[in-house]
């Protein structure tokens, strides 16, 4: 097995092996995104193509306008994909994103108004980001940098508690 393969599988095993903090038993972990879920979290991911070709700001990104203008120097921002999934605690959510990449998210726990989750962004067979972080309920953090078309991809990842 190659080194890269080992790294990826090690990460994936770690990901799959994460013990749920508030969790869900076997039957609830089997719940799919489309099934009704109680006491779960809704994970949302937006894929934004940022470039310097054109000067358009996608109006669907209005809530992120200030962040993008402050943090980045691109002239054009276009939302290419947006997806939400309801995920039980400890279960996994997978999101396809442009460029043959995908994102795996495992919500771990909700504490002090913050959602803790493991996030992996995978390109090919390698995780370009593998992180565990906590985020305020309804908040959004950004992952940027992967090349896409004539610009870069910026992912907005957030979580909303469901009661």
């Amino acid at each position: 097995m190659s080194l890269v393969g080992s790294v990826v599988i090690g990460s994936l095993v770690a990901l799959f092996g994460v013990p749920p903090a508030r969790a869900a038993d076997e039957s609830s972990s089997a719940t799919l995104a489309s099934s009704p879920v109680i006491n779960a979290v809704e994970v949302r991911i937006g894929a934004v193509l940022a470039s310097n070709s054109g000067k358009e700001f996608d109006q669907r990104l209005a809530s992120l306008h200030r962040q993008f203008n402050t943090l980045f120097s691109y002239s054009s921002y276009h939302l290419v994909k947006e997806e939400r999934q309801r995920v039980p605690w400890g279960a996994r959510a997978g999101f396809d994103i442009p460029g043959g990449r995908y994102v795996l998210v495992i919500p771990r726990e909700y504490k002090n108004d913050r959602v803790s989750m493991k996030v992996m962004v995978i390109e090919g067979t390698r995780p370009i980001v593998d992180t565990v972080l906590s985020l305020r309920n309804h908040a959004t953090f950004l992952v940027g940098g992967p090349r896409q078309a004539d610009g870069v991809l910026i992912l907005s990842i957030g979580a909303d508690m469901l009661h």
């Binding site: 990460s11 943090l71 995908y102 995780p127 370009i128 980001v129 985020l135």
Partner: protein
């Protein structure tokens, strides 16, 4: 990808032997399919059992006398570094053969000087320390691993956390 295809590929997926496209397809399918996820967890459990059993058996082997048996033999054959250097210079080989050694030593000396003379640069890929009172969109990062360079930006103005990825295949411009 169907369940049958996924189940056939799960062992290879677990061993990391799939091509990127198949790896992605299996990973995505297993996040959405309870039976395939259960099968994957079963493979994980099997792996854990095998690993645990092997480790137990290895731990039972008494290796305490191994190094004490090897070490005396190594000492008998070992020359000090000074003896090796002296033997090299006493070797009546042509002078030209020693020139590469001089060149390498000079190069190392120059590199060492440049390295130590350079002012220290702040590391930019270190994950931010866990934040106690982060608010709004600021994320508290507990761990961060990456197969590429990742810079963590915590912008105080917008209270937003950004993980910026730049590597060989994804040479993103700095934000």
């Amino acid at each position: 990808m169907t369940c049958r295809e996924t189940l056939n590929l799960l062992p290879l997926f677990f061993d990391g032997e799939l091509e990127p496209r198949q790896m992605r397809a299996v990973a995505m399918h297993s996040t959405r399919c309870a039976p395939c996820e259960a099968a994957l967890r079963e493979i994980e459990r099997l792996q854990e059992v095998v690993s645990s059993t092997l480790n137990t058996r290895v731990d039972e082997i008494d290796l305490s006398g191994l190094w004490t048996a090897i070490e005396p033999r190594l000492r008998a054959r070992q020359l000090s570094w000074w003896e090796r250097v002296r033997a090299h210079w006493q070797d009546p080989s042509p002078w030209e053969l020693r020139l590469p050694a001089f060149a390498a030593a000079a190069a190392i000396a120059v590199l060492a000087f440049l390295f130590f003379a350079r002012p220290p640069q702040p590391a930019v890929t270190e994950p931010a320390a866990p934040q106690v009172a982060a608010v709004d969109n600021a994320a508290s990062i507990d761990s961060l691993e990456a197969d590429s360079d990742v810079t963590v930006l915590n912008d105080p103005e917008t209270r937003t956390t950004v993980l910026w990825v730049s590597d060989d295949t994804s040479v993103g411009d700095a934000p």
